[in-house]
Amino acid sequence: MQILKVENLSKSFDGTEVVTNVSFEITKGEVVAVIGPSGSGKSTLLRCLNLLERIDQGTVVVAGDTMVETSSNGQVRYASEEKLRKIRLHLGMVFQNFNLFPHFSVLQNITEAPLRVAGLSIAEARVIALGLLDKIGLHDKADAYPYQLSGGQSQRVAIARAMAMNPDILFFDEPTSALDPELTGEVLKVIRNLASEHMTMMVVTHEMSFARDVADRIIFMDKGQIIEEGAPHQIFSSPTNERTKTFLKNFYNNSGF
């Protein structure tokens, strides 16, 4: 089943095109890793998909609902606010900088949206939150505040917060880039566990070994375009495009991967 369909998506900032004519699909249960050099438009693409930016051209369909479409004369039309609100419930997002709510405890961070957006009861939201805290190994931190958490713990809570809304697809924008190297493992493990439970995910990452091991598919972006797309073993061992080769070569040289 198709969760996300993107067709000819383009996005400019002040006349400079940052994402150019991007098309791809994600089916249920798939884990897609997006790699590419800095400034290639990976974050912008994710932000367009979860409505933090408005696109200039293209079509996005989420779980069968059209979020935005472009008519043949180039007119971009977003769904109504009400429909967008509904579509948003299908989408989850994990940011590089966690963006936890500092004035809420860990538990409140996770229950706030289920309570106020999904309309669950306090008891229901609590059960969900405590279950997720168990899964990420932070049951004992339920009453802690974000400032009391390490970066790795914060990011795991942010993942739980997104999961509490039971999204159909979860987007990650470099979930480990703000972490000390020794803390990336615990976050990647949580994402791995989600993958093993067939959570649909699109992960922008610079962690090549993670992308290789966990993703079902790799998308390589450069200069706003999808240059190459394929299974990890294909992209990593026999990339067809010169730019992909160069990017990966630089990467191997710098990391010994």
């Binding site: 979860n50 933090l52 609100r85 989408l91 500092p102 004035h103 949206a113 106020r116 999904a118 997104a162």
Partner: protein
């Protein structure tokens, strides 16, 4: 200096000053009641991208912060009478005029404090709320405003302390607040004691204000 005859006189002085202080406190509380929410509205309008909203509000803030409050008091009191065409003339009760002028003036100061606080909240907080599906109102009242309040408590407490002392300015409209009562009593009995005692009254009020803000800050120190 302490030329107070006997206990009865002193008791009489205290009750006089106490009455004046009650008027000062009324001005104080009513001003807070109106200016704190009004300031928030002004701050939100001031941050609007629409020029026809933010432009006039910028000018309003400039005027309110750029001219003496004592002048604004006089203006609000006399303007409806002297600046309107004859058929529309009216005058506000002194006390009402004082509350209007104070509320507008303090709202302008609070607006800038709110704005500073709101603009200091990282974009990521709005974005996290947006992707979780919160409405704009939920985002503002549940996520942003509580964090803003924590950040602006210290500058707000400064303004509130100033307000206690500024309340003495309403005497230009002939309102018998604490300072005016003390001054009149001073000239009547040829003694500075009433003024000195009035000073202690102000000090006491601001000691209370300080305590209240300290408690509030402590209450909000459960997170960083």
């Amino acid at each position: 200096m302490f030329a107070i005859g006997n206990g009865t006189d002193f008791f009489r002085l205290l009750s006089l000053l106490f009455n004046g202080a009650l008027t000062s406190l009324q001005i104080f509380f009513l001003t807070l009641l109106f200016s704190l929410p009004l300031g928030l509205l002004i701050a939100l309008g001031r941050m609007s991208p629409q020029k026809w909203i933010n432009g006039p509000l910028k000018l309003f803030i400039l005027i309110m912060r750029g001219t003496p409050l004592i002048l604004q008091l006089i203006f609000v009191y006399f303007a409806p009478f002297y600046m309107l065409p004859e058929s529309m003339r009216f005058s506000l009760p002194r006390f009402t005029a004082a509350i209007i002028a104070f509320s507008l003036n303090y709202a302008a100061y609070y607006a800038e404090i709110y704005r500073g606080g709101i603009e200091s909240i990282p974009r990521g907080q709005y974005e996290a709320a947006a992707v979780l599906g919160f409405t704009k109102a939920q985002t503002f009242f549940r996520i942003i405003l509580p964090q803003v309040i924590k950040r602006i408590l210290p500058p707000i407490s400064n303004e509130v302390i100033t307000l206690v002392k500024d309340s003495a300015l309403v005497q230009v409209l002939g309102i018998s607040e604490l300072f005016r009562v003390a001054k009149n009593e001073s000239s009547r009995i040829f003694s500075t004691t009433p003024l000195f005692v009035a000073g202690l009254f102000y000090l006491f009020m601001n000691w209370m204000v300080t305590k209240i803000f300290e408690t509030a800050e402590k209450k909000l120190s459960y997170y960083q």
